[in-house]
Amino acid sequence: MAPTIRLLQGNEAVVEGALLGGVRFFAGYPITPSTEVAEGMARRLPKYGGKFIQMEDEIASMAAIIGASCAGSKSMTATSGPGFSLMQENLGYAFIAETPCVVVNVQRGGPSTGLPTKVSQSDTMQARWGTHGDYVAIALAPQSVEETVHLTIKAVNLAEEYRTPVILLLDEVLGHMREKVSIPDEADVNIFNRVKPDVPAHWYKHFEITPSLKSPMASFGEGYRFHVTGLTHNEEGFPTAEPKKIQAKLDKLRNKIMRYVDDICEVEHDGMEDAHVAVVSYGSVARATRQAVMMARQKRMKVGQIRPITIWPTHDELYHKLFESKALEAIIVAELNMGQLITEIQRLAPRNVKVVGLNRYDSELITPQQILDKIREVR
């Protein structure tokens, strides 16, 4: 069927994407600027036989979606900075218990209560390092309302395929703005459903370390009666104190994602073959960048653009490739924060290439003009 053309808010696009992706359980606690996601889910989910629950806080919301996921539902929560901070402990549980779920963070200015209605990208590093212990996070950042629909679906799919929480990073501008979107028909959407075990119950290991590192996942009530715990555990899910098994578990958490960076990591780029200056940016800033790049090219400047769509994990090799042109002199990392993803770019850029930040954290969007000025400055 043909896609439907609609005018949607970014937060509404999350709702559409989630429903298309098969999310049937949502638990949340209202917070600006993400509340419209919960409101949309409250309205829509019961019509699909799905469940919406407003929990007493974000900690409980994160817990509830993990519980629901164990019971077999594709599940999601949505929040913003303060709530995202509160979710960190249970987010770690989802990592170690390898439980698929999607956490949407519509970023606003921080730290703390900060600027509830203002745009920011200052939870970028938190999305990677926010909970204690070792793990690898997947985080996606769309730049448009339409892309939000698609990346929400992708987030659900990645969560189910890799049995891991996936973080969808929006920002206030994207969450609140309305834009023309083309919503695909359900039949045209690629859906990944978690792989179910096909072994007899007594063979089943809930955390099996399979050769592919993708392990089948049974749900509660399907006859497998497995154990799930946040203690470091063996393949069966029972707590272990054996160093070898501990290491095997943590290696699995990393490798089940890092082995598949080629599949997971999407990075859009343009003009990097001969660019003198590259601009790296994501989310709504990437749109200002695109505008600026167009303006710069009109002025015959050789400018490249790199847009990480998958913010985490970082695909080191890919960036090395992108940065390998001899022509490249400088990389501008434009972010609505004091400099976060730039630390990754600095880590990966060749030493002869200047890496400079264009950082705005005064509650306003970076403008194309600012980027253009910065391009001129670094050349």
Binding site: T32, T113, G114, L115, P116, T117, K118
Partner: protein, 87 residues
Amino acid sequence: MSESSGDVEQVTPETGQPETKARNGRMPLTIYLHWCKACGICINFCPHQVFTADRDGKPIIAQGEKCTQCAICWLHCPDLAIVSNEK
């Protein structure tokens, strides 16, 4: 009200200057019209119809002489915009 931040820094320069509007004689109350948000509570709650509303919905003391100083208006004004001239 919506979740936000900057609101509380709006400094109204003339604040604190009462600007009671009265239509006739007695002035039983002072009304800080800058603070008044025209909610209509005083106008509706006054048991003696002392107030009428101006074009914006803010109170005008229409029948000051009827005021019994019952306190209902100033106790209920959410914007602390009414004080008695007598109590």
